[in-house]
Symmetry: C2
Subunit: 142 residues, 2 copies
DNA sequence: CTATTTAGTTATCAAATGATAATTAAGAGG
DNA sequence: CCTCTTAATTATCATTTGATAACTAAATAG
């Protein structure tokens, strides 16, 4: 097993991950928001509170575009902006109640599809999957 | 370990996979093509020959948009269209020599970044990673 | 105090993407 | 032959996304 062979396995693997992720999340998002807006909300949901700068670093977008999308999300009442009391240039972004509700609904849809996907897996299979995820998470995707 | 906990691990894991994939592939593609065009070329490279219908199924795009992107790729001399001799409605798409060269270059860039990423991994680590990929590939992302 | 840097906004433009209707051509079933 | 279905194309339009310049306001360094 050399690194080149492993690389080919990885390519095939990441393709599968992307495909399955797409199947799980397909149409899970509300039609009120675009895909990028969903990605931003997902990032906020997991890491809140976050600053606009953190969002554009992680989502690889420019500040002007981040600012625009956050404005749209704010206009849709899905997020709230809170000013930093120490550094008044900074803001913190949180999901609003509506935003939390929307993301909870989306995650519930995705989770039920996931449950369906592993419904026939044995206890041992699930343990194998968990261990494998832990290994890759720490040794490759950290 | 219940399925709900496993689901949360999976969400975190897929996020990491997407982030690392993005880091590995960032700027690896030529500026002559768009991201979607790169995805299509990647799909063709791995599965060729493919039909336009297969592309729109796997890339989740509509036939008209697939057709448009394939026309652009064809105009850029990156792919070749071959008519099916039996069913004359069908086509088969292959990479041209230019297309192969472009994708080989991209894959080489991505692979060298991957090698760098695992340069400090021990033999045992690499074997663990390989086994973990195999497990997830067969038990979860199939 | 002044210059520079940092965080974020606004405006604007080009390009990419998504969606739909209408069309061509050919295979399949009766 | 006739109808229906399938594979793909063309044209068109709205929306999303990416990129850039110009700007405000606040912190920081000298």
């Amino acid at each position: 097993m050399n690194k080149n062979t492993l690389f080919h396995k990885l390519v095939s693997f990441t393709t599968s991950v992307h495909r399955v992720t797409h199947e799980l999340t397909k149409n899970a998002k509300s039609d009120l928001i675009s895909q990028i807006q969903f990605n931003i909300l997902e990032y906020i949901a997991v890491n809140q509170p976050v600053t606009p700068s953190e969002i554009n670093d992680c989502q690889n977008m420019s500040m002007p575009n981040t600012s625009r999308e956050l404005r749209k999300l704010s206009e849709k009442k899905l997020i709230e902006k809170i000013n930093d009391s120490e550094d008044r240039r900074k803001q913190y972004i949180r999901l609003s109640n509506d935003g939390e509700a929307m993301m909870n609904e989306a995650f519930a849809t995705i989770e039920s599809r996931f449950i369906k996907r592993v419904q026939n897996a044995s206890k041992e299979d699930l343990e194998d999957i968990e261990r494998a995820i832990d290994i890759l998470q720490t040794k490759l995707f950290n």
